[in-house]
Structures are given as structure tokens and as C-alpha cells.
């Protein structure tokens, strides 16, 4: 591979990284807009946000395709390969974030004409801010290749989780004191869950960043736990089945 094509390759990787930053800005803007539409009971804006989500999808597809062609044509290795893989995964997370913003809009439509109690409104505004802060931090960690910040996102996300719990608690109180119907109550519970999911996607992005920087796959911690927990049991089962019959199917796997 000549010096020239390598240069082009890294320029291409930089461009992909810029596209992801733009995609994240679009996604967090969509979340902020969705919150506005929800709190201002603005159905036209809600529809506009749902329509505009196509831009996010198009941008995500563009990133994916560019990553694919880089993989196919350049066959990158090590850090370069990880960077491209991380870009593909992160794009997926951001596309979902945009999707969740749409879900918030649809929720707003379903509970139209429901006057929201002030406390729930305040908590929604707070969850919105927190979710956007998480997206921004995850993008910071991506742009700066900052694995330490990426690792910290798990803990930073605790605040959004606790806001989510407070919201559900307040919702249960409000549905008694403010005569909230079942339908809007359910929609509100779902909407709170969407914000919480947006935070989770930001944490996922940070996991991919840690992988990109260090090669460690933090999301495989669950797999490791699963092995520790289930391997001994599997051995027991295997021993049992061997005892019972020599040709039994090993369905324990």
C-alpha cells in the first residue's frame, strides 16, 4: 500500500469521525426539540421532528457505507480497524437515539390535551438536559479518544437513572392527586423510559470508545459473568448426562 493511499485512508477516517460528531449533534438536537414539543403541546413540531428523523437515518447509512467500503478496500488492522468498527457501532446507537426522540414525539401525540402537572414537567426538562449531557460527554470521549472519560460515563449515567425513578414515583403520586388518566400516565412512564434509554445509548457509545482506544470490550463483562456463573453448572450437567446415558443429547448448551 503506497503512502498516498494511506493518507487518503486516514483522511477518510477523519471525515467519518466528523460525520459522527454531526450525527450526534443532530440526535441531541432532536431530543431537545422533542422535549420542547412535548412540554409545549406542539403537535406540528412533533410531526416535523418525526419527519426530520429521516435525515438522521440517511446520515447514519452514509457513515455505515463509508465504513464498509473502507473495510473492504483497505483491509485495515489494529487501531484503524477498531476505529472503523467503533464508528459503525456508534452510528447505530445515535440512530436509535434519534428514534427515541421520535418515540417521545409520538408519546406526546398520544396524550394530547393532557395538562401535565408542573412537577412532572420539571422532571422531564431535567431528564432531557441530563440525556443531552450524556450524549455530549460520550461524543467528547469519542473525539478525544478519552478512555477515562468513557469509563466514567457509567457512573455519570446514575443521575439519569435516579431521575427516572423519581419521575415514576412522582407519576404514581400525581395520578392520584392530579387525576391523570391511565393512557397519559402510561405514555408518561414510557416517555421517561425513552430518556433513560437515550442515556443508556450514550453509555454504549462510551463502551465502544473504550474498545476503540484500548481494544478492551467492556460489554463482554456480562459474557464473562455468564461463564463464571454457568460454566460449573454446565460441567455438572455434562457429568450428569454422561452418567445417565452415553448417547444423550447435550441440550444443556
Amino acid at each position: 500500500m503506497t503512502e498516498q493511499t494511506r493518507k487518503g485512508f486516514h483522511a477518510e477516517i477523519d471525515e467519518i469521525s466528523d460525520l459522527i460528531v454531526q450525527l450526534a449533534a443532530r440526535a441531541s438536537d432532536a431530543v431537545a426539540r422533542a422535549t420542547d414539543a412535548l412540554l409545549k403541546y406542539d403537535l406540528a413540531e412533533a410531526q416535523q421532528i418525526i419527519d426530520d428523523d429521516d435525515y438522521i437515518d440517511v446520515a447514519a447509512i452514509e457513515v455505515e457505507e463509508r465504513c464498509q467500503s473502507l473495510l473492504a478496500l483497505q483491509q485495515p488492522m489494529a487501531g484503524d480497524l477498531r476505529q472503523i468498527l467503533a464508528a459503525m457501532w456508534i452510528t447505530g446507537e445515535l440512530e436509535r437515539t434519534g428514534g427515541l426522540a421520535c418515540n417521545i414525539c409520538k408519546g406526546a401525540r398520544r396524550m394530547f390535551r393532557t395538562e401535565l402537572p408542573p412537577r412532572l414537567r420539571g422532571l422531564i426538562a431535567e431528564m432531557n438536559e441530563e440525556a443531552i449531557r450524556l450524549i455530549r460527554l460520550s461524543v467528547d470521549s469519542y473525539s478525544e479518544h478519552d478512555a477515562a472519560l468513557a469509563s466514567a460515563l457509567h457512573d455519570i449515567d446514575d443521575r439519569l437513572d435516579s431521575l427516572h425513578r423519581t419521575f415514576v414515583k412522582t407519576l404514581l403520586e400525581s395520578s392520584r392527586t392530579h387525576d391523570l388518566d391511565v393512557q397519559p400516565s402510561m405514555q408518561l412512564a414510557l416517555i421517561a423510559r425513552y430518556y433513560e434509554r437515550i442515556g443508556d445509548h450514550a453509555v454504549n457509545i462510551s463502551d465502544r470508545v473504550r474498545y476503540m482506544v484500548s481494544g478492551v470490550m467492556p460489554w463482554r463483562a456480562g459474557l464473562a459473568r455468564h461463564r463464571v456463573r454457568d460454566e460449573p453448572r454446565k460441567h455438572e450437567l455434562a457429568a450428569d448426562s454422561a452418567e445417565m446415558s452415553s448417547n444423550g443429547d447435550d441440550k444443556a448448551d
Binding site: 454531526q22 449533534a25 420542547d36 408542573p118 431535567e126 461524543v139
Partner: protein, 409 residues
């Protein structure tokens, strides 16, 4: 031992021979160099003129190099001057050539092109517009960023031509957030003031019509009562408008010494009855002894009363309002904290505008004039201080008035 002596002798001998040889050579060389012994051939005229013209050519070339260097220097200075002045622009400027390649950008534009969060959305818009501008169009777009801090940008792009030849395109990015805010303040003020003044007049006219048509004394009494309420509303609005006008008139005028602690206590006393009716507890704690400033007692009391009135009005029954007077070296602060419905973050920057209402429908039932916080702000400004708010919707609000202490005493 002997061999050593022989060796030393040989070396010394060799050195002496070497020096002798050297000196004869040196002498011969010096003889040759002596100008008196040098007999050059007489110079021909042609050779001399050739040499002169060569010298001229060299001088000429040197001069030319110098002037070229100076020219380059001045061009460099001019370029760096242009660059520096472009960088001083608040607007972002991006210039591309006819192939769409970016050839120049100022510092502000670089911030957009390298931005990471909200502003990252401006970069693709700049690129799009430059693309359109290269085909000869003049294009303008707005970019709204909805995540906090909210901002609005206007991006304009146009072709760069000289003598009918397309050289490229230029894009300009302006931050129009403040411009938009001022524009909406102006627009809303006109709408709000007419709403506030016309609504009670309209109501009065309807009530008067009904009164004229109905002769039943019971209905008439009821209608008259309603008319009195509406009249009171107009009177309140006019009173507040006059207060505001007076405050604007008196700005910057030093007043008598006022004990702010006593002013706050008086205001709390005035609100206590309304608070009791609404089942709201008002708790005053004065945490400082030095509470004297120069100013207007009347205006300060009306400012604190306005804050208390709002706090009680927007509290739920059983709520609590905390009034705290504090001081540090520079300033005195009076804060009023309630546990009421609070103010949405997006409205907090606008509530001190005249006639601005967060929720029109609700505030009409609570009976304010929409001028209370504008008065509070004016009083604070007149005393060299300011007022600020922190709030979360549904979780109460805290208004803080800061008043600088007299530096003279």
C-alpha cells in the same frame, strides 16, 4: 633504552628537516604573492567595459532582489493584516475556490467547522450553501440549535466574481440569538400590552351592556360587582405602569438611608394576611445586622412585596415561603424562596419583561398585572443591584435581589 634514544633523535631530526623544507616553501610562496614583483598584462578597453557592465548587472540584480523581498514583505504584511481583521470579525467567514475547495476561513469560522456539539450542525450547512453559491445563487438559511444553550445562526452565501469570471464563493455565519431575543421582546410587548389593557375594557363594555338591558336589581348588583373587579384590574395596571415610569425617571438618583431589614419585615407583615388566606407560611430570617443602604424605601418595599406576592400566589396550600436577608462585604441579598409551581427553564430569561406571562390563562385567574417582576428588576437596577431567579418547574423558585452596600460607610 638505546632504541628509545635513537627513536627520539630520529623524530627530532625529522622535525627539523621538515621545518627547514617548510620555510623554503613558505619563502617562495611569499615571493610570488608580492605585488611589486607582479606584472599584470595591460587591461584592454573591451575587458574593462565588460567588467563594468558585469558589475552593473550584479548591482541591478541585487537591487531587484531587495525590492522583490520588500514587495513580498509588504504583501505578507498586507495579507496578515487582512487575516487579522477577518479574525477580529465576530461573524464566521469561509471562502472557497471555484472547485469548492475551502481556501480561507477566519477564526470564528474555524470554531464552527471544528465544533463538536450543537454548533457541529452549522458546518454542513456552510458546505451546502457554498455549493449552491458556486452556481451563482445568493442563499440564506437559519440554523436553530435547540439544546441548551439555545442559539440561532444565520448563514449566508454568495458567489465571488470579478469581471464576469467566477472565482469561488463566500459564506458568512452570524450569531443572531440576541437579535432574535430583542425582536421577540419588542413583538410580544406590543401584543401583551394591548391584551392587558383591552381585556378588562372589553369585559367592562360587555358588563355595561348587560346592565343596561337588565332591570333585575339582583342581577344588576352582581354585574356592578364584576365591573368593580375589572375596574380594579385596570387601575392596578395603570398604577404599575406609572410606578415603572417613575422608576425609569429616577434611575441613578441617590436616596436617603434605608434599613432593608425593616423594609423586608414590613413587606412580610403586609403579605401575612393573604398568606394566611392561602394557607401559606411565610418565614423571615434576617441573618445580618448591617442592612442599611442608600435608596428609596417605598420602591424597595414594593419590590420585596411583589416577590412575596408572587411566591404566595404560586404556592400550593400548605406551602412555605422563605425570606432571607444576608450580607457579605460588598452586597446585601434578599432572597424569596417558594415551593410552588416554579418556572420552566426556557421562560426564566423572559419573566422580567413587562407584561410577559409564562401562562396567560393561569395568571389572569391569579390577578397580577404582568408588571410585578419588571418593577422588581427596575428597583434593583436603580439601586445598583440586580435580580436573578433559579427554578425548576414544579419544584419552586428562588428570586434573589442583590443590592450593593454603600462603600462610603
Amino acid at each position: 633504552m638505546t632504541s628509545l634514544i635513537i627513536g627520539v633523535l630520529l623524530v627530532v631530526g625529522g622535525a627539523m628537516v621538515g621545518i627547514a623544507l617548510d620555510r623554503s616553501l613558505l619563502r617562495r610562496w611569499i615571493r610570488n604573492r608580492d605585488p611589486r614583483r607582479h606584472h599584470p598584462a595591460p587591461e584592454t578597453r573591451a575587458a574593462s567595459s565588460r567588467r563594468r557592465s558585469a558589475r552593473h548587472a550584479i548591482e541591478d540584480a541585487e537591487r531587484r532582489v531587495e525590492s522583490a523581498e520588500a514587495g513580498q514583505l509588504s504583501a505578507e504584511t498586507a495579507a496578515s493584516r487582512v487575516e487579522a481583521s477577518l479574525d477580529a470579525l465576530q461573524a464566521g467567514l469561509v471562502l472557497c475556490d471555484r472547485n469548492g475547495r475551502v481556501v480561507a476561513q477566519n477564526t470564528a469560522a474555524t470554531q464552527f467547522l471544528q465544533a463538536r456539539h450543537g454548533e457541529a450542525l452549522v458546518a454542513p450547512v456552510i458546505k451546502d450553501l457554498l455549493e449552491q453559491a458556486r452556481s451563482g445563487e445568493l442563499v440564506t438559511t437559519r440554523v436553530e440549535l435547540h439544546a441548551e444553550p439555545r442559539r440561532s445562526y444565520e448563514v449566508r452565501a454568495g458567489p465571488v466574481e470579478r469581471g464576469g469570471e467566477m472565482l469561488g464563493a463566500v459564506a458568512l455565519v452570524h450569531d443572531i440569538t440576541e437579535h432574535d431575543r430583542i425582536e421577540s421582546v419588542r413583538r410580544d410587548f406590543v401584543a401583551n400590552v394591548s391584551h392587558e389593557l383591552k381585556t378588562p375594557i372589553g369585559a367592562l363594555s360587555l358588563l355595561a351592556d348587560s346592565l343596561a338591558a337588565d332591570s333585575d336589581p339582583e342581577v344588576a348588583a352582581h354585574l356592578a360587582g364584576r365591573m368593580q373587579i375589572e375596574i380594579q384590574r385596570v387601575a392596578n395596571t395603570i398604577d404599575d405602569l406609572l410606578t415603572l415610569a417613575m422608576l425609569e425617571d429616577e434611575s441613578g438618583r441617590p436616596g436617603a438611608r434605608v434599613d432593608v431589614g425593616a423594609v423586608v419585615a414590613a413587606a412580610v407583615d403586609r403579605i401575612s394576611e393573604t398568606a394566611e388566606q392561602n394557607d401559606v407560611k411565610v418565614v423571615l430570617s434576617n441573618r445580618t445586622a448591617a442592612t442599611a443602604i442608600r435608596g428609596s424605601r417605598l420602591h424597595l418595599e414594593s419590590a420585596v412585596f411583589n416577590l412575596l406576592d408572587n411566591a404566595v400566589k404560586f404556592s400550593e396550600s400548605g406551602g412555605r415561603v422563605d425570606v432571607v436577608v444576608e450580607a457579605d462585604q460588598q452586597a446585601l441579598t434578599v432572597s424569596v424562596t417558594d415551593e410552588g409551581i416554579g418556572i420552566p427553564a426556557t421562560e426564566q430569561s423572559r419573566i422580567f419583561e413587562r407584561f410577559y406571562r409564562v401562562d396567560r390563562a393561569r395568571s389572569r385567574s391569579t390577578g397580577g398585572t404582568g408588571l410585578g417582576l419588571a418593577i422588581v428588576r427596575h428597583v434593583a437596577l436603580n439601586h445598583g443591584g440586580d435580580v436573578s431567579v433559579t427554578s425548576r418547574e414544579g419544584f419552586g423558585a428562588k428570586f434573589t435581589v442583590t443590592l450593593p452596600l454603600d462603600s462610603g460607610d
